[in-house]
């Protein structure tokens, strides 16, 4: 529980661009977390006109925040005692989108590490809806490090 709280606390995002509610499981190789899309998320006003659907870029962002950044924070925590500011950057994404996600749906992201070396984390991510259907999947990579090193 302490480990999970520590990850959430270190996330460098805030409303309206924080897409992590909860972490269900974390290990050195995998992480699982959830997010519920609120009725009034800012992007629903324009995507689409009077027909709100979660944009693919936001699903990708949700996968990246849970799958890459949360797992990356944990991996950095395992490596060292860190106190510095976190620096993150997405470096590549290759996603496939299979089903739409509507307002008030809760999604679960499962991420498994392909490698973490020299501060680059590459993961395979899968997002499921409440009916356990695969919503999107792909491979994401990014750089994550503490500023003090």
């Amino acid at each position: 529980m302490l480990i999970i709280n520590d990850i959430i606390k270190k996330l460098p995002y805030t409303n309206p661009f924080l897409f992590v509610d909860r972490i269900n499981m974390v290990s050195a190789n995998a992480l699982e977390g959830c997010y519920t899309f609120k009725q009034d998320e800012f992007f629903y006003k324009g995507h689409f006109k009077e027909q709100p659907v979660t944009p693919g870029v936001i699903l990708t962002e949700c996968c990246a925040q849970i799958g890459l950044v949360c797992l990356g924070i944990h991996l950095l925590n395992l490596e060292e005692l860190n106190t510095g500011d976190l620096q993150v950057a997405l470096s590549s994404s290759e996603m496939q989108f299979l089903l739409p996600v509507f307002p008030q749906e809760t999604v679960t992201v499962k991420s498994s590490k392909l490698f973490f070396r020299f501060n680059k984390l590459k993961c395979e991510v899968k997002m499921y809806n409440q009916r356990a259907q695969l919503v999107c999947k792909g491979v994401l990579s990014g750089m994550i490090k503490n500023n003090n090193i």
């Binding site: 590549s92 020299f118 501060n119 990579s141």
Partner: protein
């Protein structure tokens, strides 16, 4: 002293990660990966991982820190291959 074969192998790896505005001809021994070849830190990691596979060696964090130019990379490769034998 630079091993021509190692240089050719390294060049084949590096060219995969060059941005569109940098030509393969720009890869010379003195080239700085980040400042001259415009390779970002994420792609520099990809280059290191490809180098490890191609030469059957393993680089550590301090090697990564030292790897500024193509020549640095070739020196590290030569050193690692020597240590292996």
């Amino acid at each position: 002293m630079v091993d021509d074969q190692h240089f050719a192998q390294l060049k084949d790896i590096v060219k995969l990660y060059l941005p569109e505005d940098v030509s393969v001809g720009a890869i010379v021994e003195d080239s700085n990966f980040v400042k001259e070849l415009n390779i970002n830190s994420a792609n520099l990691v990809d280059i290191v991982l490809d180098v490890e596979d191609a030469f059957g060696i393993r680089l550590e964090n301090e090697d990564m820190d030292k790897m500024q130019t193509v020549r640095d990379a070739l020196n590290i490769i030569a050193q690692k291959l020597q240590d292996k034998n």
